[in-house]
């Protein structure tokens, strides 16, 4: 229910945003369509649990930029997106969100550095309550263009995930978990802090290549069919994973929340097809280390077509 309540709130905000932007040309609308492959969707720890899937996704963003003064601006946007995972439909999700970005530019010209403060609030809905989540994200960053083509950005990012209180899960009890001293049921109730650095290079022909690195101290939701003792010891939450419905999977799958440190690398190439359209290729590789010294990995290959409407 919390999802639908939030959907209404965010929808109202997005509608207001849309209407208020009609009278001013500082608004922007972006449509992105893409697809790709994710190598380890359940964040499985071994070959059996590492399940890959191709996906398609689409998102539309409407926003408006307000120039507050000579050096600062505020950009507000609303976003609606969906992802469909062709091989693991239980991971399909719809996301609705709003974002605000305040930018201060230190001086004049294209080489003047800038400071950014962003707040993003997303509501994500999946096929089961255990994976529904609300995400509040705060980000502080600085950026600077060093040469004609080189831009460097660095910052910190705090992400807080919230979820509904979940009912007692009979499957969890059947797996041997003690009802009294049980783990939390709420898989997506955690916080993460990351530092990041990104560098972009604009080629003369308009192509843009970028590399980004995130160091993340936070949590990861992984899934397993084997809830052994070690998992109970290192997990902060444990619940039946709705991404694996019984009608499709013979064995029950459980999600568990792990405290992790992660290194995430992303490489991207953006090729403009026109002044308003680009096609983007990206590779995102994440190495996730849990407190039991186990490593989880995930790689996402994606191609996205972005239209500025």
């Amino acid at each position: 229910m919390i999802f639908f309540a939030n959907i209404k709130k965010v929808s109202a905000a997005a509608a207001l945003l849309f209407l208020s932007s009609v009278s001013n040309a500082n608004e922007f609308y972006t449509l992105s369509l893409g697809g790709g492959q994710e190598s380890n969707l359940p964040r499985g720890i071994d070959d059996f649990h590492e399940l890959e899937s191709t996906f398609v996704r689409a998102a539309i963003t409407a926003g408006k930029r307000y120039q507050l003064g000579l050096n600062d601006s505020l950009t507000i946007s609303g976003n609606l997106g969906f992802s469909r995972f062709n091989d693991l439909r239980g991971f399909d999700r719809v996301a609705l969100g709003i974002a605000a970005n305040y930018r201060y530019k230190f001086g004049f010209g294209p080489f003047a550095p800038g400071a950014n403060a962003s707040f993003i609030y997303d509501v994500e809905n999946t096929q089961g309550q255990a994976r529904d989540t609300e995400i509040a994200q705060f980000e502080l960053s600085i950026d600077k263009r060093f040469q004609s083509g080189f831009t460097l950005e660095s910052g910190i990012d705090y992400q807080r995930n919230y979820t509904n209180d979940l009912d007692i899960d009979p499957a969890v009890l059947a797996s041997g978990s003690d009802l009294v001293n049980r783990l939390s049921f709420e898989l997506f109730d955690f916080e993460s802090l990351s530092v990041f650095a990104a560098i972009d290079y604009d080629f003369l022909n308009g192509w843009r290549a970028g590399v980004a690195y995130h160091r993340i101290n936070g949590f990861t939701v992984a899934s397993t069919t084997k809830p052994w003792l070690e998992i109970f010891k290192i997990s902060n939450a444990f619940y039946s994973d709705p991404a694996f419905p019984p009608e499709d999977f013979a064995k029950p799958w459980f999600g568990y929340l792990l405290e992790t440190n992660s290194d995430q690398w992303e490489g991207a190439l953006s090729i403009p097809l026109s002044m308003d359209t680009s096609i983007d290729f990206s590779i995102n590789w994440t190495d996730i280390r849990a407190s039991n010294s186990r490593d989880y990995e995930n790689t996402i290959y994606a191609i996205t077509l972005t239209f500025s409407l």
Partner: protein
């Protein structure tokens, strides 16, 4: 700058040192063709063809003939022109004005712009203004040289105002041609400027003699650097971590 072709029957004059070179990087052309049509006893024409090393025409280069001071008054007609802001671009991208001219910077977009220049010959700043405002504002460019105009809100917006000594200047078109008519007879300096010329070539000069009734055709190959600012299509956002 490199020689591209030698088309002139007066090629031998070049070999004899008839032309003098003032730029180290200048490896002269040059084609000097007798004009097919006689215009008048004192009206000479000049056509400069500018290409890059791959043979692509270079537009937006300014060609100016530098007259001696005593001859300038006839060609010093200051004017009023405008550099508009349309669809988040300056229009035109390159302008030429004669020193002493006024330039207006109207805003035809429905959004705010913030026009500025750091260029030493003319520093100014028109803080945030929208459509229909600042229509009366004009800035006088008194010194010769190149003024780089930017918008502090939209970093890719860029315009150049070439402040010339006289009206004997022209901007190369899409075919890479810059044409000047009614050039007086005599030996004058020819200056070529492009915003993306390498630093040492930022304004190339060469001395050329204009002979009564002759049309001079010159071809240059220029080496340009990358654009300082590139406007590009939006790209998709980076992925959120999970």
């Amino acid at each position: 700058m490199k020689i591209r072709s030698m088309q002139s029957p007066l090629h031998s004059l070049y070999k004899l040192g008839f032309f003098s070179l003032y730029s180290v990087r200048l490896n002269l052309i040059v084609g000097l063709l007798l004009s097919l049509g006689w215009v008048s006893g004192h009206a000479q024409g000049l056509t400069v063809q500018l290409d890059d090393s791959e043979g692509n025409p270079i537009s937006g280069a300014v060609v100016e003939i530098i007259l001696p001071e005593e001859m300038r008054s006839t060609y010093q007609l200051s004017d009023e022109t405008e550099v508009d802001q349309l669809d988040k671009e300056f229009v035109p991208h390159i302008s030429t004005v004669v020193s002493g001219s006024d330039v207006m910077f109207p805003n035809s977009d429905d959004i705010l712009h913030h026009v500025y220049s750091f260029s030493p010959i003319s520093t100014f700043n028109i803080p945030l203004y929208g459509k229909g405002t600042q229509n009366d504002y004009s800035h006088r460019f008194s010194e010769t040289g190149v003024v780089e105009i930017g918008c502090n809100i939209h970093d890719w917006m860029l315009a150049y105002i070439y402040v010339a000594q006289t009206t004997l200047n022209s901007i190369s078109d899409d075919s890479g041609q810059a044409t000047l008519e009614n050039v007086p007879s005599g030996t004058f300096e020819l200056r070529i400027w492009h915003s993306r010329l390498k630093e040492q070539d930022i304004a190339m000069t060469q001395t050329i003699e204009f002979v009564d009734g002759e049309k001079t055709v010159i071809e240059y190959t220029l080496e340009l650097e990358r654009d300082r600012r590139v406007r590009r299509a939006p790209s998709s956002n980076r992925t959120r971590y999970r």
